[in-house]
């Protein structure tokens, strides 16, 4: 709290109005790409063809909701962002924006996205969108992240909602396949983030964030990456034997998951050397992003071919 006050005091009340690009930066556009893609795939994999205008609106709402969550996350974590090299140039820690402006922007954008989803699509999609925003801001950012090294395990659920929202927007209901897609993203998040945390450990330690490598050490983190990869692999492949997808998805998900498993195994079984470039960890982090794009893309192609 003391650090929060110190950052707030560095923001002058005489700041000029923030540039519109800084508001865009608050929404974390790069993170949004993956959220929008998984949401779009959830919608396109649904057995109901949605009108393009309504489909566009649903994806817009998912993007705006993710942007709102990102803005509120940056509003709350401005003090932490200020001491991390990766995030120090963001609008709030860099002193380019009033903190209150970020709060108003985040709340307004979040409310707008949920209301539009409810009015244009359906209440189930709107309710899941609202839950995902609140989950990311309140459960992950405010409650778990500063308190427990398990923060991204439970908090990962926030990023897993988009395919569920996309499916619900198209069909008005939630069935087993979107739940499996939710589970896949949920279980993918720990290996993905812990691979990142291994090579930016110093940043997290400086900011006082109890990420697993900081609190439990590298060895435990590497073991956990390996362990979480196992149920993730099951969730990724399961739609095929359950008859919820065809062979295209089955083969692609098997191949990609095997590759993911090999990279995770390499990370899980090594130890950091002096002057280590952390190449296996960086490779796993980068591949994990590609993995989600390819597996979700394969599901859509599979459903369309079928």
């Amino acid at each position: 709290m003391a650090r929060r006050k110190s950052v707030m005091s560095t923001v002058s009340p005489l700041l000029p109005p923030a540039h519109w690009r800084d508001f865009l930066a608050l929404t974390k556009p790069r993170v949004m790409t993956l959220v929008v893609f998984t949401g779009l795939c959830g919608m396109l994999a649904a057995p109901v063809a949605i009108n393009p205008v309504l489909g566009f609106t649903a994806i817009l709402c998912i993007a705006l909701g993710a942007g709102a969550a990102g803005a509120l996350n940056q509003w709350y974590e401005a003090d932490i962002d200020a001491v991390m090299r990766r995030t120090a140039a963001r609008p709030l820690p860099a002193g380019r924006m009033e903190r209150q402006a970020a709060l108003h922007f985040g709340v307004g954008l979040g409310a707008f996205s949920v209301i539009l989803m409810g009015l244009a699509l359906n209440l189930i999609a709107a309710a899941i969108l609202a839950v995902s925003i609140l989950f990311y801001v309140l459960i992950y950012t405010v409650w778990l992240k500063p308190r427990t090294p398990q923060n991204i395990v439970i908090g990962g659920a926030a990023g897993a909602f988009p395919p569920l929202i996309g499916w619900a927007a198209a069909t008005g209901q939630v069935t087993l396949l979107p739940v499996l897609l939710f589970t896949l993203v949920f279980l993918w998040t720990p290996p993905h983030f812990w691979a990142l945390a291994l090579f930016v450990k110093t940043d997290y330690a400086n900011a006082g964030i109890p990420m697993l490598p900081v609190v439990a050490g590298e060895r435990t983190t590497r073991q956990q990456i390996g362990l979480y990869t196992i149920p993730m692999a099951v969730a990724a492949v399961l739609p095929w034997p359950l008859g919820l997808s065809g062979a295209i998805y089955g083969i692609v998900s098997l191949g990609m998951t095997a590759w993911f498993g090999l990279l995770a195994l390499r990370v899980a079984t090594r130890a950091t050397q002096p002057d280590d470039a952390m190449k296996p960890e960086k490779a796993l982090f980068k591949f994990s992003i590609l993995y989600l794009f390819v597996v979700f893309g394969a599901l859509v192609i599979d459903r369309w071919v079928a």
Binding site: P17, H19, W20, N51, V53, L54, T57, L60, L119, A120
Partner: protein
């Protein structure tokens, strides 16, 4: 307030006003399109 600061504030305000106008225009078009889709589908517009 210095002249440069006033220019900066005006430029920022103008930029934000233009972006806001474009977003509002896009929103109006979107609501119109949603309404047409819903009417064609025989549903209540919103």
């Amino acid at each position: 307030m210095k002249h440069d600061e006033q220019d900066l504030i005006r430029a920022r305000q103008k930029g934000r006003a233009i972006v806001m106008a474009l977003l509002l225009g896009a929103f109006v078009v979107l609501v119109f399109a949603i309404t047409i889709v819903k009417i064609k589908a025989g549903e209540s517009p919103m």
